[in-house]
Amino acid sequence: MKLSEEKSDYGKSVIEIKDLRKSFGDNHVLNGFNLTLKEGGNLVIMGKSGSGKSVMIKCIVGLVAPDSGSVKILGKEINNLNRKAMDELRLDIGFLFQGSALYDSMTVRENLEFPMRRHKKKLGVGKDTKPLVLEALENVGLAHTIDLMPSELSGGMKRRVALARTLILKPKVILYDEPTSGLDPITSKEIIELMHNVQKRYGTSSLIITHDVDCARVISDRMILLVDGINYAEGTYAELSKSTDPKVEAFFKN
């Protein structure tokens, strides 16, 4: 397989990663990973547990500092940004966490209001944020949960509320960390559909980390298989699923 940049008909790059390296002691997690996500694209990263997917996605939003390499988001090299500039850039990046990461001491409404509290002026939001919160919840079909606590929601509902929280800032790019993990097949399908609708409605670019081959098939227009911290294989779902390489084949069969 060719380890080239993402070939697509989309526009400029929204995320560009070059030669990304990260080690934790003797554990070399990323060993020169490369990635380019074009505007409007849906790029899926697949790999076994411990292959460095989550570390890579956390390097993109600055939660983990890479040892070396370049990470450019919307044309800005994040290694050169100070805290204030990084926070401003983060307004354009949505992040859906694997376990939803809803603030469990806050109601659903407070969860959705939280990301807006320091950016109301920039977002053009007045004091009353309820209409915006309701709109975001309606997008995920959960307007009735506005006053509930996260502990009162099911796993699938939590994931959808987390997606609504991500969407409320109207980001240009959304990073999904295992969006369907721990969910039953029906709820997984609902979440995948929701991701698809979000992409259509808001025209966001998406970087999706997943183990779920079905999710990858439905949502991806390009895929990268991450093995031992490097791009082992790249291509469309159709190309990779027909691969005769034992490592790629094993992944799709499993």
């Binding site: 939003v61 926070d87 983060r90 966490f97 990461a101 809803l102 509290r117 320091r118």
Partner: protein, 254 residues
């Protein structure tokens, strides 16, 4: 053994760095006043009952235990002076701080630890909110401001407990008891005790936040964070108390 010594120095260094970061972030806007007030309410108001009941019992016990000895020496009239000075100078602040170390430091350790392992702190970071400022600074400030008030409340109830017992056993009126106590107390008793209460509050908030904020190893780590927060805060409280007594002795010649 060498590893333990090494670990001790690493822990001391990390805690000092954490404290330095607190001062840096606390002085820099934006300030999280709303969250600070919420934390003050949580830590102050919700500890009142526990601190009050403990103070009352300590006052009763101290009086009951000292009575036979003072009667033996014909010095039972010195009871208000002895109990008043010992409660205000030492017993009140230390007992209140230890109770708060058990209740508040473990609570902060568990809450922040749980937020860390469920990626809620990371979610805050990627939404453009500084989690250190929002979670840590507010909690440390709240404990620092609330502990002196709790100490005053605990002291008053301890003195009331002592006065009640003296009233029942020795027929001493409440007015006479409190007049004697306040005549016996001087600035050299009140000022150092109040100042050290602020430090006790700071230690409780600092250690609880430090242990929770850097919690590792999943849900098991949350328990460890809560547990070690209490142990470390209690040990540091005694150390700070010892230093405070030495400094007070230099200034006031106790």
């Amino acid at each position: 053994m060498i590893n333990r010594i090494k670990q001790f120095f690493i822990e001391t260094g990390d805690l000092s760095y954490f404290a330095a970061r607190f001062f840096k972030e606390a002085l820099k806007p934006p300030f999280e006043f709303k969250e600070l007030l919420r934390q003050c309410y949580q830590m102050g108001n919700r500890s009142l009952f526990l601190v009050g009941i403990t103070g009352f019992i300590i006052g009763l016990v101290l009086t009951l235990q000292s009575r036979p000895t003072l009667i033996q020496f014909g010095a039972v009239s010195w009871m208000p002076n002895m109990v008043g000075i010992s409660i205000v100078r030492e017993v009140g602040p230390v007992i209140t701080a230890l109770i708060c170390a058990g209740r508040i430091a473990s609570g902060i350790g568990a809450e922040l630890g749980s937020m860390r392992v469920t990626e809620q702190i990371d979610a805050m970071e990627v939404s453009g909110t500084n989690p250190f400022k929002y979670l840590v600074v507010t909690r440390i400030l709240a404990t620092t401001l609330m502990l002196p008030l709790l100490v005053v409340f605990g002291d008053l109830l301890a003195l009331f407990g002592s006065a009640l017992l003296e009233n029942i056993k020795g027929g001493v009126s409440f007015q006479l008891y409190f007049n004697t106590v306040f005549n016996a107390l001087s600035f050299s008793d009140l000022v150092p005790a109040t100042i050290k209460s602020f430090f006790f509050g700071f230690i409780i908030g600092l250690v609880g936040s430090y242990k929770g904020y850097y919690c590792k190893k999943g849900t098991a780590g949350v328990g460890v964070a809560a547990n070690t927060a209490v142990v470390m805060a209690s040990l540091l409280l005694f150390l700070v108390d010892f230093i405070a007594v030495i400094i007070t002795d230099i200034f006031y010649e106790l």
